[in-house]
């Protein structure tokens, strides 16, 4: 049971590194961005796992129930910001990919490098 409580912290690096593997091993630029999204989402899991408290509930205060335990609201606030950062990066990255595709006619990294080497 003690170890099961760490399961989230094991899934987090696995997801993180699945994302990094996609970024490093794939030449397709959109696939790289998909990997980058997963890479960022894994970090959301790290933070949100921290907020949980046994017997707690979402940090929306209930009037007339002073004994209620609440989960930690701070990591949630941070991750709301991080999600926005993620979508902003994705949007900008995709815009660059669209321009690359129009200029080079491909979105495979090795083919782009091949064209510039000529």
């Amino acid at each position: 049971m003690e170890l099961l409580g760490l399961y989230n912290y094991w899934v987090f690096p696995v997801l993180l590194m699945t994302g990094l593997y996609a970024i490093m091993s794939r030449a397709n630029l959109i696939k790289k961005l998909i990997g980058l999204s997963m890479f960022q989402a894994a970090v959301f899991l790290l933070y949100i796992t921290m907020d949980k408290i046994e017997g707690g509930t979402a940090p929306i205060l209930q009037a007339g129930n002073p004994e209620q335990l609440y989960s930690n609201p701070l990591p949630q606030v941070l991750i709301l910001t991080a999600i926005v950062v993620g979508i902003a990066t994705l949007a900008l990255g995709l815009a660059i990919v669209v321009r690359i595709s129009e200029t080079y006619g491909t979105i495979e990294e090795d083919e782009i490098q091949g064209q510039d080497a000529e």
Partner: protein
């Protein structure tokens, strides 16, 4: 007005931030440039005011929203941050002074207002990182500056700018995310995000594994953003294909801001709290620094493209800064921090010269510069002086930091003396690669290169002003040195 003075730390960020949406709505590009420059000048004035206070030994603390730290977000301006603010805002002002003419050829007129809005956001983001006293807030402003910088680099006139900026975006995001993981792990073990509070609370948990791993993630993530060798792969092409004015701006300050966060975290949060951190830091940083100095200098020597040559030289100069920091002594840190400022001056001047050269030459290769000195004598003369400053000739700004670094290494006896050999080798190679440019430019001209066609006067004046600053701070180094000394003293505080 005394009340306004207390708000300076936040105004440093808010002035460019507030101007960005205004510039976005101004569709007329001349007005957009004027508003951007005015906001930069205002930010520069704020930075000068703050550095005067910091030189007097004051540390300004600002609680945003009037919430006390560590519950609210705190801004902190001390000597180290003041020095960085001078660099960031100064680089923005000087780059903008040449940007008007320089960007005309590079960016379509109807997109310029978007470009200037991105410029202001980059400025606000970098300033925001420097003044932040909160680890997560640093991440937020790091992302503003990063996204805005991607836009600026993507404005480059050649198509290679696009793959270059894509790589920059991917590596920059990985770096920032590593930093975020490190901050998360520290938060998990200390329950706080405020850096000063972390310093206190990390003592009880400093030997636990998550904190050790957090140190690694923060260092690697920021090293990636600071283009520390061997994580510099994004830098050469990003600097090369960015518009010339943008290269001036980001080459002078953006990697140094990441280095600043790196040093603050390593020295303030980890150093002195973790057993053996000093040795670990030195063992990790010194080899990287030496490799950076030697290998990047050699790469610069072999590089045919002028801008990319200077970009590799930047990777080498980051090595010098890390070398000074890696010695973990007052003299070494003073040298490293002073070198941040002085290298910003030297490299800023060199890229300004490149921007001036580009107004009348189409050449980007060093070998194509033949006759450039005949065609643009004032620009090339400025390039030579800035080059001397980059090499570190006494009497120029570039000398000061390197001198302190050498003295600090010699404090370590024979081992230190051996360590400075690669440092000196790096400077010798710098002589060679600057000489290549000079030799080519002063050789006899081919074709129409003999006719005089200088850069426009405002650009030339800006270039010469920065070049003279290199000489001024070489002879009168007290401003950067005072700030660097108190910054080093603060970092080494147990």
């Amino acid at each position: 007005m005394s009340s306004l003075a207390t708000h300076l730390p936040v105004l440093q960020v808010v002035v460019p931030l507030l101007t960005a949406p205004l510039v976005f709505m101004l569709r007329q590009h001349g007005l957009a440039w004027a508003a951007t420059t005015a906001a930069s000048l205002c930010a520069f004035a704020v930075a000068i005011e703050l550095s005067t206070a910091a030189r007097g030994g004051a540390t300004l603390v600002y609680e945003v929203g009037a919430w006390p730290a560590p519950y609210g977000i705190e801004l902190v301006v001390d000597a180290f941050s003041a020095l960085l603010l001078l660099m960031v805002t100064g680089a923005s002002v000087f780059a903008l002074l040449i940007a008007r003419r320089s960007l005309e050829a590079e960016i379509p007129e109807q997109r310029l207002h978007l470009f200037y809005a991105a410029w202001l956001l980059a400025l606000a983001g970098l300033s925001g990182i420097v003044v932040a006293g909160d680890a997560f807030n640093i991440f937020v402003f790091m992302e503003i500056s990063a996204l805005a910088t991607y836009v600026l680099v993507a404005g480059g006139p050649r198509r290679q700018a696009l793959p270059a900026v894509f790589r920059y975006l991917v590596m920059g995001t990985i770096g920032a995310t590593f930093y975020l993981i490190g901050v998360g792990l520290i938060y998990m073990m200390t329950g706080t995000l405020n850096i000063a509070d972390m310093e206190m609370r990390i003592r009880d948990v400093s030997d636990l594994r998550p904190v050790l791993v957090a140190g690694g993630f923060i260092t690697v993530g920021l090293a990636l953003k600071a283009a520390v060798f061997p994580l510099h792969a994004w830098l050469p092409n990003a600097y090369t294909y960015a518009p010339n004015a943008v290269t001036v701006f980001i080459a002078a300050c953006s990697t140094k801001v990441s280095l600043y966060v790196l040093l603050r975290f390593d020295f303030v949060v980890f150093q002195g709290n973790q057993a053996g951190h000093v040795a670990q830091f030195a063992m990790f940083m010194l080899p990287l620094a030496i490799f950076a100095i030697v290998i990047a200098s050699i790469l610069a020597l072999r590089e045919a493209n002028l801008k990319r040559m200077l970009a590799y030289s930047s990777v080498a100069q980051i090595g010098y800064i890390l070398f000074g920091a890696g010695l973990v002594s007052a003299t070494g840190l003073t040298g490293g921090i002073a070198h941040m400022f002085n290298h910003a001056l030297a490299k800023g001047a060199l890229f300004l010269a490149v921007a001036c050269l580009a107004t009348s030459l189409s050449a980007t290769a060093v070998s194509d510069l033949a006759g450039a000195a005949r065609r643009m004598p004032f620009t090339m003369a400025a390039f030579v002086i800035a080059g001397l400053s980059l090499i570190g000739i006494p009497g120029t700004a570039g000398f000061i930091g390197k001198w302190f670094i050498v003295v600090a290494a010699l404090e370590h006896g024979v081992a230190g003396a051996l360590l400075i050999l690669p440092v000196l080798a790096g400077s010798l190679i710098a002589v060679l690669y600057i000489w290549r440019v000079v030799e080519s430019a002063y050789s006899s001209p081919a074709g129409d290169m003999a006719t005089r066609q200088e850069a426009p006067l405002p650009m030339l004046a800006t270039l010469w002003f920065v070049v003279l600053l290199n000489v001024y701070f070489g002879l009168q180094p007290s401003l950067p040195l005072d700030l660097a000394r108190s910054a080093a003293a603060r970092l080494l505080l147990p």
